[in-house]
Structures are given as structure tokens and as C-alpha cells.
């Protein structure tokens, strides 16, 4: 009886130990999966120490390492929460001998290690980038229209430009050719008094009423 009890006690102790080990391993695995910023080298000796193949032994070294990892994770998570812009990135490194089956490259030509980087899409960054892009694009339209309206033809330029000035009205998209104000005859000034306006007002919509002819007269 007593022997049976002792034996049962041994079995219970062993199963308890096994269960404890399993829980410990699964929690470690979960922690590793959940740690978004983990930069784990699965082939490094450090990673091997954490691998499930080795039994868990509570030691001051492991406890210290766990504590430092936890604090580092906390700092990183806080920085992420504060919007410090740290990329949510996972990097995996592995010796190329582990990927022999898929590489198809000879051992000599193959690089010694393979590094895979995976990153979550940061929608905040993408959205803000799109807003800046659209804003900068829309705000530039008037600049292009302004150049079309007032191409700033030199007043004392060559024969072609002296005679005429090209004016485009952005609303009607009509290109209007007209005489320069300082070259108008008195009759024209009487009939078109608004043409006395300064050159800066050439782009005024009133000029849209000028007779439309070919804009690119040579």
C-alpha cells in the first residue's frame, strides 16, 4: 500500500512537473508570437536556449534576461503608443542551410544567412501621406492655371510678342488674342476703356469679351 502510495506520489509529481513544463513552454511561445517587435534569430545560440527542446530551469540568468526583455518590450510598446513611429516590424534570420529545400542554389553560391522582414501596414502613415499628396496636388492646380492666364510675355520682346499678348481665360478655356493697351489707338481706347488697365489686370475676365482669334499667330 505504502509502496503504491509512494509510487502514485512519484507519478503525480512527474505529471505535475510535465504539466508545469508544458505551461511554461506554451506561455513562452505565446510571448514570442505576441511580441511584435521581437527580433528573433532562431538559429542563434540564444534562441536555442529558449527552444522547447531544452528543459526549463529557473536560474537567476534567465530571470534577469526575462526581466530585461519585458522592460524593453514595455518601453517599445510605450513608444509605439505615444506615436513615436517605430515600425511594427518583424525580422527573422536563419542560416541558409535550413532553407536548402527551397533555395535551389548550390552551397557555395548561397549566402550564409537569410533575412526576412515582415511589416504591418501602418494605415495612419498611409492616410496622412495620401492627405498630403492630395493637398499638395490640388493646391498646385491654380499655379498651373495662373501660368496659362498670364504667361508673362515680355512687353519689349520680338515682333511676334510685341504685337500681341496671349491671354487665356480659365473659366471659358478660350485663348484670346488682343492688342496691348499701350499700343491701342484712341478710338479703341474709347470703345474699350477697360483696356487702359495695368498689365497686371490683363488676366481679368473682362478680356474674355475680346474677339477670339488664333492664339498662336506667327
Amino acid at each position: 500500500m505504502s509502496g503504491g502510495t509512494e509510487g502514485g506520489g512519484d507519478i503525480d509529481g512527474r505529471s505535475l512537473e510535465t504539466r508545469k513544463r508544458r505551461i511554461c513552454l506554451s506561455s513562452r511561445r505565446k510571448r514570442r508570437e505576441n511580441d511584435e517587435l521581437a527580433n528573433v534569430d532562431f538559429c542563434s545560440p540564444t534562441a536555442r536556449d529558449h527552444s522547447p527542446a531544452h528543459p526549463t530551469r529557473p536560474s537567476p540568468l534567465i530571470a534577469r534576461r526575462t526581466l530585461s526583455t519585458m522592460s524593453a518590450t514595455l518601453v517599445r510598446a510605450s513608444a509605439l503608443g505615444l506615436g513615436a513611429g517605430l515600425p511594427r516590424r518583424k525580422t527573422f534570420t536563419c542560416g541558409s542551410d535550413r532553407v536548402r529545400a527551397v533555395s535551389g542554389v548550390g552551397t557555395k553560391k548561397r549566402t550564409s544567412s537569410l533575412r526576412v522582414v515582415a511589416e504591418d501596414t501602418d494605415w495612419g502613415r498611409e492616410l496622412s501621406s495620401a492627405v498630403v499628396r492630395v493637398g499638395a496636388g490640388v493646391l498646385m492646380v491654380h499655379n498651373g492655371l495662373d501660368k496659362l492666364v498670364d504667361p508673362e510675355v515680355r512687353r519689349d520682346a520680338g515682333v511676334h510678342e510685341i504685337a500681341d499678348c496671349l491671354i487665356v481665360t480659365p473659366l471659358s478655356h478660350r485663348i484670346v488674342e488682343s492688342k496691348r493697351p499701350d499700343r491701342q489707338t484712341d478710338d479703341e481706347r474709347v470703345s474699350f476703356p477697360h483696356r487702359r488697365a495695368s498689365p497686371s489686370s490683363w488676366s481679368s475676365p473682362t478680356w474674355a469679351s475680346c474677339p477670339t482669334t488664333s492664339p498662336f499667330r506667327s
Partner: protein, 111 residues
């Protein structure tokens, strides 16, 4: 603007300084449309970056650096400041591309 400050641009027939102005206007309109939609973002950003670069050059040639970076100016901003800001924005999109929310990305995914 083009002739006095950007006189180094080729202006022999069939080109003229007015042609350059119209080319800049076309680049600004087409580039603005492309950038807004996110279509050919890098090319659009390059065209806008070049026109804004010319604008910065024009303003700096016209009014100088105005005591940049510590100079306090009467108009509360440097003459070249908006153009320089645009220039930097377009440089960002030139390097970075349109991002996930752009037509470029949608078309790439389709392929």
C-alpha cells in the same frame, strides 16, 4: 520671369521662353492631377519638383536668401518659402512614391 532669371534655358527656334512657361503650366496641371490621383506618382512628383525648383531659384535670384535661417522679414515669410516647402513635399513623393492609398498601388496589385 523666364527670360531675365532663367535665360540659360534653350530658346532657339522652335523653342521660346513663352514655350517654357506653357510647358511649366502643363507640367503643373498634369503633375497635379497625377499626384492627386496617385497615378504615376513619382513622375508627377518629378515634374512638380522641377518646376518648384525653378521657382525657388527664381525667388532666390530675385530677392536673395533674406537672412535665412534667422532673418526676420517684413512679410513674415521668405519669398521662396512656399516654393521651397512644395519642393520638399514633392521630393518626399519622388522618393517614397504614392503609398498604399494610390492608383499606382491598386494597379500594381491588379498585375
Amino acid at each position: 520671369m523666364v527670360e531675365p532669371y532663367l535665360g540659360f534655358l534653350p530658346h532657339d527656334e522652335p523653342l521660346s521662353f513663352v514655350t517654357w512657361t506653357y510647358l511649366a503650366a502643363g507640367a503643373e496641371l498634369a503633375g497635379a492631377a497625377g499626384l492627386t490621383l496617385g497615378l504615376w506618382t513619382r513622375l508627377s512628383a518629378l515634374s512638380l519638383f522641377s518646376t518648384m525648383g525653378a521657382a525657388v531659384y527664381f525667388h532666390v535670384a530675385q530677392s536673395g536668401l533674406e537672412g535665412f535661417p534667422l532673418g526676420v522679414v517684413e512679410k513674415h515669410q521668405y519669398a521662396y518659402e512656399p516654393a521651397a516647402l512644395y519642393c520638399l513635399i514633392y521630393f518626399y513623393f519622388l522618393c517614397n512614391g504614392g503609398g498604399a492609398l494610390s492608383l499606382d498601388n491598386a494597379l500594381r496589385k491588379k498585375d
